[in-house]
Symmetry: C2
Subunit: 148 residues, 2 copies
């Protein structure tokens, strides 16, 4: 029997990815890309490990999802990401023409919404606030530990 | 003897990269990253070949430059790119904290400046218009050929 999963279910999978990032000393942001109720890509932030500012969870997930589909456009896909995307990732989302972007918690300093411009594709639906407190807590824990 | 090269010299190298893109049927945009008067990364747009919307010339050049330097920050580097960066690439430039961005020709439709927001890092110096007509001509030729 096909079970239809909720946004919360998929955000929990993104959260698991963020936990992997935390364990590796990376800023704890995780993402999954879902197509037809199935996860086709999972990734977490690896800017430190890969020594590459472009290696955000979302960017790695977009590349993996396109590889999986054999199509660089992600029209039928939803990105679940634990933190509001930055300008770079919102710009990549624009190019991929995602159907939906679901993020857990906002990022007032580095999130794309601080620009005051909708940088996503005009056809992309935006949902926010799913598992917000858990995902925000990971970020708080990470930056608190950094300051000690 | 160390010869100090001009912005035009390095933009010609970016132009050569754009020509490679054109030869391969890609949107003809090329980039080089220069550090201390030396090219440390060269790249051209490969979104079709790599089937990946994130494979813009600038993104590939940032990753290659960081690999070369062993440092994900490009504080002492200049990006030369034949066309105004898009939002994604401007966002990546922000993270890399480039010293300078030099682009040849503007992109009214997809360039980051259409947002009306400076998406580059506040410390990044912007120079435009170097070899503008040659680089714009490559784009015109590409899109004209597409329409035939």
């Amino acid at each position: 029997m096909l079970s239809i999963h909720s946004d919360e279910h998929f955000m929990r999978e993104a959260y698991k990815q963020a936990q992997y990032a935390l364990e590796e000393g990376e800023i704890p942001i995780g993402a999954v890309v879902v197509c037809q109720n199935k996860i086709i890509a999972r990734a977490y932030n690896q800017t430190e490990k890969l020594n590459d500012v472009t290696a955000h969870a979302e960017m790695l997930a977009f590349t993996a999802a396109a590889n999986h589909l054999g199509n660089k456009y992600l029209h039928d896909c939803t990105l679940y990401v634990t933190v509001e995307p930055c300008v770079m990732c919102a710009g990549a989302s624009y190019w991929s023409q995602l159907k939906r972007v679901v993020y857990a918690t906002g990022d007032e300093k580095r999130g794309y919404r601080r620009t005051g411009v909708n940088l996503l594709h005009p056809k992309t639906e935006l949902v926010t606030g799913i598992l917000a407190s858990e995902c925000a807590q990971l970020m708080t824990d990470f930056f608190r530990a950094k300051r000690i």
